[in-house]
């Protein structure tokens, strides 16, 4: 599903953020990505969701060597990845429904299919009463659920979440993680970046720990990590 081989990353002439990172994720696995702020978690996620190119090393995504992929092949690969951003990144000028529908529209889905799918998913995350609400009128937890709904509406093979519980209290954070765990049970590969150690300890999933750009693996059970 995702394979990094000796991947290094630096921005311009700045210091190296990631040093020779290597790992491989099996389809359907669930991993936490932990580490202190500035350790390179967001940079690692950006490399996976193809928002950045590595300075060196090899990234293979869905069995495709990214370095060899043509630029016009990348949108199709990106559509197989759902991303939940730390600051939600919802579009304030669009309704909740239109925000969640965005990946479907980008993929060229029919409007009739979009309405049905979005309404069903928002019902699943408990926001069926807010279809036409604007994000600005929602609470932090509600915004986070909209962001998760938007990330999974396209039935991605891989879901990346950057500090999904960072802007909500622990109770809502745990509920969100259970929601994501349900998706994992349906076959979606999950990576959740967080620095909330207490939250990570409540779940029995392996941990990829980043410190000063160096990745180490902490196994809690035999799950998908090579």
């Amino acid at each position: 599903m995702v394979r990094f081989q000796n991947v290094g990353m630096r921005y311009g002439l700045g210091p190296e953020i990631l040093h020779d990172v290597s790992f491989e994720l099996e389809p359907g696995s669930f991993h936490f990505l932990t580490g202190p702020s500035g350790a390179g978690k967001s940079t690692l996620l950006k490399l996976i969701y193809l928002a950045s190119r590595p300075s060196h090393g090899l990234i293979t995504l869905f069995d495709r060597d990214i370095a060899l992929a043509e630029r016009n092949e990348l949108p199709a690969l990106r559509r197989r990845i759902g991303v939940v951003f730390q600051e939600f990144r919802l579009l304030d000028h669009l309704s909740v429904m239109d925000n969640v529908a965005l990946p479907l529209r980008v993929a060229g889905a029919k409007e009739s299919d979009i309405r049905d799918n979005v309404a069903e998913l928002l019902d699943w995350v408990g926001l069926s009463d807010h279809l036409q609400s604007r994000p600005a009128t929602l609470s932090g937890g509600q915004k986070q659920r909209v962001a998760i709904a938007r990330a999974v509406i396209n039935r991605p093979h891989l879901l990346l979440a950057d500090e999904p519980t960072g802007n909500v209290d622990d109770r809502i954070g745990i509920r969100l993680l259970y929601l994501i765990e349900e998706l994992n049970k349906l076959g979606t590969t999950i990576i959740i970046a967080t620095h909330n150690e207490a939250l990570v300890s409540r779940f029995d999933h392996p941990e990829m720990h980043l410190s000063d750009g160096v990745l180490t693996i902490k196994r809690k059970s035999a799950q998908g990590m090579v």
């Binding site: 193809l50 949108p75 990106r78 559509r79 991303v83 990144r89 000028h93 669009l94 990946p103 980008v106």
Partner: protein, 303 residues
């Protein structure tokens, strides 16, 4: 109007609010310059049609002419000289008609400058013969001039080329300036759209990056900018064209009421109006293509 649903709130950008008004100005100026071009072209071709197949033969008054040995030509009566010239002209292949102007007609031509009365009656005037050539007659002016001079010493031919050539040069110069204005105005439209599009790209950078990460093709994002530009272009273009049309109609109305024989008619014909009415759509199309190219070039820098 021409904008499908958009993920980007481009219509709320300050730069986008000003764009239609800039396009109003651009289309207004371009329409006036183009109309000027059309009016001049029509006038120039009209003048050309009226003058290219005509000649004027001028025969100086007999008193001013003397034979080479200093003795006046025996047949130097003005009527005889004109008759001889007419004979030569009518015998020349390619001449359709040759008609001498009467003294009354000559005086009528001079009246605007010299007035009428005793003074003009006593003037010694050259005789003029109005010659019409057959279309594509191929008459050699040098040969005809030599034959005429031999038959009627002092007779000269004016084919109006010198006067007409200067007039056409002036018209072509003004046309060139009008064409230059249209070009500059088009460049101004392109530069304005590039500026507005780049501003939009900067303002909505986060949303564009989000769409990119979701797997949007560059064309999907570019489409949102291009239809916004098309919408602005059509709206601004329509208002600019309406204002220009009002100005042109007013000028045409005024020019029809001014006696100005040499001034070209400022009224446009139906096909010219039709061509001019395409201007707002051409500007809108240029705006749309410019916006698309600008966005695609900017997006090509994303990974």
């Amino acid at each position: 109007m021409f904008r499908p649903r958009s993920d980007l709130p481009l219509e709320h950008d300050a730069a986008n609010r000003f764009l239609p008004w800039l396009i109003v100005l651009i289309v207004y100026l371009a329409a006036l310059a183009l109309a000027g071009l059309m009016v001049l072209s029509t006038a120039a071709s009209g003048w050309g049609r009226g003058l290219t197949d005509t000649l004027t033969v001028q025969i100086p008054p007999a008193a001013s002419m003397a034979s080479k040995d200093g003795v006046s030509d025996a047949n130097s009566a003005p009527e005889a000289r004109v008759d001889r010239a007419l004979e030569v002209l009518r015998a020349t292949p390619g001449v359709a008609q040759a008609k001498a102007l009467s003294r009354e007609e000559l005086l009528a031509l001079l009246e605007p400058w010299l007035g009428s009365g005793q003074f003009t009656e006593e003037l010694s005037l050259p005789a003029l013969i109005d010659v019409k050539l057959k279309a594509h007659s191929g008459v050699s002016l040098e040969g005809l001039a030599a034959t005429l001079d031999a038959a009627v010493p002092g007779a000269t031919i004016d084919d109006h080329k010198r006067w007409f050539g200067r007039l056409i040069l002036l018209v072509r110069s003004v046309e060139l300036i009008a064409g230059g204005i249209v070009l500059l105005v088009s460049l101004a439209a392109i530069a304005t759209v590039i500026f507005v599009t780049r501003t939009g790209l900067a303002i909505h950078h986060d949303v564009i990056e989000l769409l990119h990460v979701m797997g949007a093709h560059d064309a999907y994002i570019a489409r949102q900018f291009q239809f916004q530009a098309l919408d602005m272009g059509v709206r601004g273009g329509a208002i600019g064209f309406a204002l220009a049309a009002s100005t042109l109609l007013a000028l045409g109305y005024l020019s029809a009421r001014i006696e100005a024989m040499l001034l070209p008619s400022l009224e446009l014909n139906a096909s010219q109006w039709l061509a001019l009415s395409a201007l707002p759509f051409v500007v809108a199309l240029i705006s749309m293509i410019t916006a698309r190219v600008t966005v695609l070039r900017a997006l090509a820098k994303l990974p």
